[in-house]
């Protein structure tokens, strides 16, 4: 029994250390990126990709945060923008569908890569699913929700 418990404790500590070593540098890199000039260009590039799916330019800011950092951060910005009346109903619906399928993709995927998964398959599948599903929702709802 002591063997089993100490095996479990050591295993869990090893995994924790491994994850810290990946996540801290990642967050430092994101901080540099977010405060650099490249960030705005990424935003523009993302808008080019999101526009055909029905998103407005305003939505791409919260989308960028959501795709990279996760629902909680992304929705925080989404919420702030929808309170300001900057987003349309269809923006909110499409953002929710897209972000439900595809958010925090870098961090989430990396933690599985750390334990031995294949990150390429995880990210590519999530991007394809999110894009296809959002487009389906856009086609279905574009005339039903206000476009104002």
């Amino acid at each position: 029994m002591v063997d089993i418990v100490s095996h479990a404790v050591i295993g869990s500590l090893k995994l924790s250390v491994k994850l810290i070593l990946i996540i801290v540098p990642l967050m430092i890199a994101y901080e540099f990126l977010e405060n650099s000039r490249v960030f705005n260009r990424i935003l523009d590039a993302l808008y080019i990709l999101l526009k055909p799916l029905g998103f407005s330019k305003q939505a791409s800011i919260s989308m960028l945060t959501g795709i990279f950092l996760g629902i909680t951060y992304g929705s925080g910005i989404l919420l702030a923008q929808s309170d300001k009346g900057k987003l349309t109903k269809i923006d909110i619906l499409l953002s929710a569908v897209y972000l439900s399928m595809c958010h925090a993709v870098i961090e989430d995927t990396l933690v599985f890569v750390v334990i031995g998964g294949n990150g390429f398959y995880i990210i590519i599948t999530r991007l394809i699913i999110a894009t296809a599903l959002t487009y389906m929702f856009y086609l279905y709802f574009k005339d039903k929700l206000n476009k104002a």
Partner: protein
Amino acid sequence: MSIQNNLKNGIKNGLSVSLKLIKVIIPFYIATDILSHTQAANIIGKALAPLMEPLGLTGKMAVAIISGYLVNLYAAIAALVPLHPTWQQITIVGLMTGIAHNLIIEGAVLHKTGTNAAFTITLRIIVSIVAGLGLNAFFRFVYG
């Protein structure tokens, strides 16, 4: 100045994420690792094995998926690692729980932006299962 700030904020954010993760990983990992050595785990594993088989997972790995759905990815990882998964199994669980995780809390957050929580939760669970089945079929086709 700005470099120092970026470093400082990055380290701060990184450590706060790591702390959140460790708080979940350590108890879940220890619980799963110990449980996996008991007879109960074998019984549950055998009962769920037929359901997990189309996903390319073993019965015990159902615990990882459910932990992921209800808690978060770190709980899923903590429940998965002690079971010695293959890289395909890690990737499938990563995809499934990546799409659907922390469903209750994230459902509530999305609900606030004006999207029905029951809708996003149902959608995410269904899509995650379909995605898992698809990826497993793909792995079997490509890697045998």
